[in-house]
Subunit: 225 residues, 2 copies
DNA sequence: GGTCAATTTGTACAACTGTACAAATTGACC
DNA sequence: GGTCAATTTGTACAGTTGTACAAATTGACC
């Protein structure tokens, strides 16, 4: 009896799913990576869909808990701009950094979410909507208070862009290295977090009544030839 | 002999791939959607991988041509800020709007790219790197001239975020609708383009020497508690 | 109307998929 | 050391996959 085959199966499932998606990875791939038999998977999890559900439940709770915790700290900051920055870090950092150390990692799990979200896997979709939307809504509310006068549409779209940026940074880091001619390391996650927070800080900050005005005015000036 | 079965197969391939990814869609699915037999696919394309290659070649060239064309127009704008805005639109609009009308659509093809990029499909990866990196590099160069003093790392990372935002806007538009409580339509592509351009405009603009400084200073102020 | 190449169909194949379940193995407890 | 439940293995199954290829169909040209 192996000490923790079940854990190893879950870990390897995340790794393989995050690399190639849900459909392309067979239960036999996961079993082989864990040095075990296919049957062990049906024994421990019942089915492939239930395995996926278990993977999600393993990681979503601690990750969102960490986010809410950091959000709480951020909300104690008085200055609106510094608070905005802290809120964004509270959203991004737990997705990049492992919450419970050694469990397969925050970044790997986030990458898996990104891939499954793109695949449109129906099992995953239901779980994601349930688990993450509530947290996302709490963040949008917090962000709204940092940019007085911002429209809800602007806040929601920017939070959509934030998540998309987050996902793609993990999905295709090599593109960053390639486009920079090798001078920038797309796999440097600390740098990625800093860049992502600064970029979205600027995009949210521009929603403030005055700043938003100038961007919109510029747009119309351009469009009217 | 059907007039244009080959075209129908290509069109349906894009639609199905963009919806569920490469692995989850079988040749029989594509054939059935086209009212044809599996054999017609091997006859016209030889293999599934070659079909995918054909799909890419069909859309990549006109889309990037349109981007370069709009980029050329944008570069004639004197004012740096208005030029920046125009360059961003030149990058985003062709990805959202069909370049050759009725051919399966720019947005649908872009969505397919997004999904395949996430799946890490090796066939797709090689094609994407070849076809798009050159165009992306031209855009980064153009953007650099709009934000004097910006570091290459900032430019490349923001262009990465731009593409990630673009992809995710197409992959998961319903999340926008859901998070806004139904008051914002995530499937409104014109609105998505506007929001995306405005958000990335702000993020690139913040790279200008002075603005970048203040954001960095703020970050350190926050981190040092 | 017969010819012929291009196209479309039908079918067969080996490989792989998720799932089910009987058999073997393990190790703690008496 | 025998017992027994928990775990792991092995194997079988029906369904699907991409691919190959012979047979049927099509339609323009003579």
């Amino acid at each position: 009896m192996r000490p923790n085959l079940r854990e190893a199966l879950l870990r390897n499932a995340v790794t393989l799913f995050s690399r190639s998606g849900y459909n392309a990875v067979s239960l036999r791939d996961i079993a082989k990576a864990s040095g075990a038999n296919v049957g062990s998977l049906t024994y421990h999890f019942g089915s492939k869909a239930k395995l996926l559900r278990e993977v999600y439940e393993r990681h979503t709770v601690p990750m969102n808990a960490r986010r809410r915790e950091l959000l709480g700290e951020a909300l104690r900051i008085g200055d609106a701009d510094q608070r905005l920055m802290a809120i964004l870090r509270a959203y991004v950092v737990p997705a990049f950094v492992s919450s419970s150390e050694g469990d397969g990692g925050g970044a790997e799990f986030t990458r898996m979410r990104a891939v499954l979200s793109a695949e449109g896997n129906p099992d995953a979709q239901a779980i994601i909507a349930d688990a993450f939307d509530e947290t996302s809504r709490a963040f949008i509310k917090a962000l709204a208070d940092c940019v007085p006068g911002a429209l809800l549409s602007g806040l929601v779209w920017r939070s959509q862009f934030l998540l998309g940026s987050l996902y793609y940074a993990l999905i295709n880091p090599d593109r960053v290295t390639r486009l920079s001619g090798g001078t920038v390391d797309g796999n440097d996650r600390e740098a990625a977090v800093d860049q992502l927070v600064e970029a979205s800080y600027a995009s949210f900050r521009s929603l403030r009544a005055e700043a938003g005005q100038s961007a919109a005015a510029l747009k119309y000036a351009t469009e009217e030839k």
